[in-house]
């Protein structure tokens, strides 16, 4: 295995600064890795070698001029939900299979400005709807730890790409767990920032009050570097929080001793795999060994989070996906009349899960059902948020599992949507409340599959999560393990 693939952001930056390796060499190493392994994993939908090498050469020019940022020359993979100017963006859907965006998402523009190198666009569940990356029009993604299992979703391609060392870091999005859960299943780190911390301009919308962009990498430190590069106010996103982000790299080294960690009793009830439970409890005990104070807390409305999410997210999705009508961009199935064109286009363009969610969302918003479903769900969202507010009066962060099981076999849950939705039991409350959530590897089960620990923070307090996660990783080795693909 090429040593260049074992670098993290900091060591890659050091080598690039000292000109011991060029951005072009680093990029070529990753492109070769993609060539060697991606046929088995299918983490990428679009790879543009020419673009990647051009960006690498531009980065090398900047390095010569000593005009670098920590992300200059760093090879990065982008979930195919962020629009990239002149580079195909599909959202893993037939309806956008040939779509070439005329502009960059703000996150992509920021990364270009920082001199990062785009390796390609990663596979995902179509329109971010899924927890297994089996709902893609471009084929399922395989988990690098066991190719017969799912990587998780919907940012399965980004997670698998990082785990398989096909990129140094990656960008994902998280609406109900779609960064954290695949990070857990692939043995890497993923962060969902506070809602509004990272711009959603140019992020193809699924559920606008829940979607967030976030970093994915092997280490908390790598994710901190990436978050620093993409967080901040964006006037093009009316939900972007106006406050400037703190310096995450400055506070990450502060010892977490004395911080109070809440462990929700509701997160360790029936439904949680016994091995996952024991591994996560072991990780929490390790935090206690680092000097954090652990206490049991209650989040009484936890049991309603999945139901709440699947009313609100599908309602928002039914509205957001109305734009795919074959008129201005994307697939068009030409019929004589307007309505027929809409219906045939959307039938041909959308996969089964997307259609299911559009139908569910339309139903809960329709006359006669709006009050009892959608309005009710908005009120329950308030209760879920209040649970966290109450808990944060006595603790600084919350710890628990990311997912009820480790990665499951491909095809196991595909024809049972409700079973798939229940995978989101520990992640959806965080999106509903708009809080930051971090997933980091904390062990392996008896099938040698990774298990993740979830840390949930107060609003805008990504710093505390990064501090705790980083110190956890300085005293454990889980994040250093790599799947045997060679």
């Amino acid at each position: 295995m090429n040593d260049l693939l074992d670098l993290d952001v900091q060591s890659a930056h050091d080598l690039l600064c000292k000109k011991k390796v060029s951005a072009e060499e680093l990029t070529r190493a990753y492109l070769k890795r993609i060539d060697d392994v991606d046929e088995r994993i299918n983490a990428f939908i679009t790879i543009d070698e020419e673009l990647a090498l051009q960006m690498a050469r531009d980065a090398d020019r900047r390095i010569k001029q000593s005009n670098m940022t920590p992300l200059t020359g760093i090879p990065i993979a982008l979930k195919d939900i962020l629009v990239t100017k002149k580079l195909r963006t599909t959202c893993a859907s037939k309806i956008l299979q040939d779509f070439i965006p005329p502009y960059d998402a703000t996150v992509c523009r920021e990364l270009r400005d920082a001199g990062a190198v785009f390796l390609g666009k990663t596979n995902m569940d179509e329109f971010a709807m899924g927890a297994s990356n089996e709902n893609s029009a471009f084929g399922a993604v395989s988990n690098p730890w066991d190719l017969k299992r799912v990587p998780g979703g919907s940012s399965g391609g980004s997670a698998a790409a990082v785990a398989a060392q096909e990129c140094l870091i990656a960008i994902g999005t998280d609406t109900g767990g779609s960064i954290r859960q695949p990070a857990s299943h692939c043995g890497i780190v993923g962060l969902k920032p506070t809602y509004g911390r990272v711009s959603r301009f140019g992020v193809i919308a699924f559920a606008s009050s829940l979607d967030q962009v976030g970093p994915m990498g092997h280490s908390v430190l790598d994710c901190a570097y990436l978050l620093q590069g993409i967080a901040g106010f964006d006037p093009k996103d009316s939900t972007s929080i106006p406050d400037a982000p703190p310096d995450y790299l400055q506070t990450i080294e502060h010892p977490p001793r004395g911080l109070r960690v809440g462990v929700p009793k509701e997160y360790f009830g029936p439904g949680l795999d016994r091995e996952v439970r024991d591994i996560v409890r072991g990780a929490i005990a390790h935090l206690e060994g680092l000097g954090l104070a652990i206490q049991e807390i209650s989040l009484p409305n936890s049991d309603y989070a999945v139901a709440d999410y699947y009313i609100l997210a599908t309602a928002e999705a039914s509205s957001n996906l109305a734009r795919y009508d074959g008129m201005r961009y994307g697939l068009r199935v030409k019929e004589a009349g307007l309505k027929e064109t809409y219906c045939k286009t959307r039938d041909a363009g959308f996969g089964k899960e997307v259609k299911r969610r559009i139908l569910l969302g339309t139903y809960v918003l329709s006359s006669g059902y709006y009050d009892s479903f959608y309005l009710k769900a908005q009120k329950v969202r308030t209760l879920i948020r209040q649970d966290f507010e109450n808990a944060f009066e006595t603790v600084d962060l919350i710890a628990g599992p990311v997912a009820p099981t480790a990665a499951f076999p491909l095809g196991e849950n595909v024809s049972d949507p409700l079973k798939m939705y229940l995978c989101d039991i520990y992640t959806t409350p965080v999106n509903l409340a708009g809080l930051p959530g971090l997933s980091l590897p904390c062990g392996f089960d008896s099938n040698r599959l990774p298990v993740g620990l979830q840390l949930i923070g107060k609003p805008y307090d990504e710093q505390t999560l990064l501090r705790v996660g980083h110190h956890y990783q300085q005293s454990t080795e889980w994040h250093k393990r790599r799947p045997a693909l060679d």
Binding site: S209, S238, R356
Partner: protein, 98 residues
Amino acid sequence: MNTDNFDEGLIRKIAALASVELASNELLELVSQLTKVVEYVAKLQTIDTLSVNPMSHATAISCLLRDDIPETSVLEGALLNAPEQNSGYFCVPRIIDG
């Protein structure tokens, strides 16, 4: 929550509202799958929310405005992926009869 009326007829109506055509062989599977999901999400009906305000958003931000300053035309970019275009316009099926 009574989901007895969650049948093929209702799903066809919803599909028409959502402008999605469904094949007959899809309908049966959808009735079964969506009934299960709707029964599950209906559990929210058991919660007392009489004195609870609805939450539509994670932040308190609302009604942000920008200055009314014209920006560059996006016409070229807007037409870049048009399925059919003519003289700077999207070509679409007839909307108005006559």
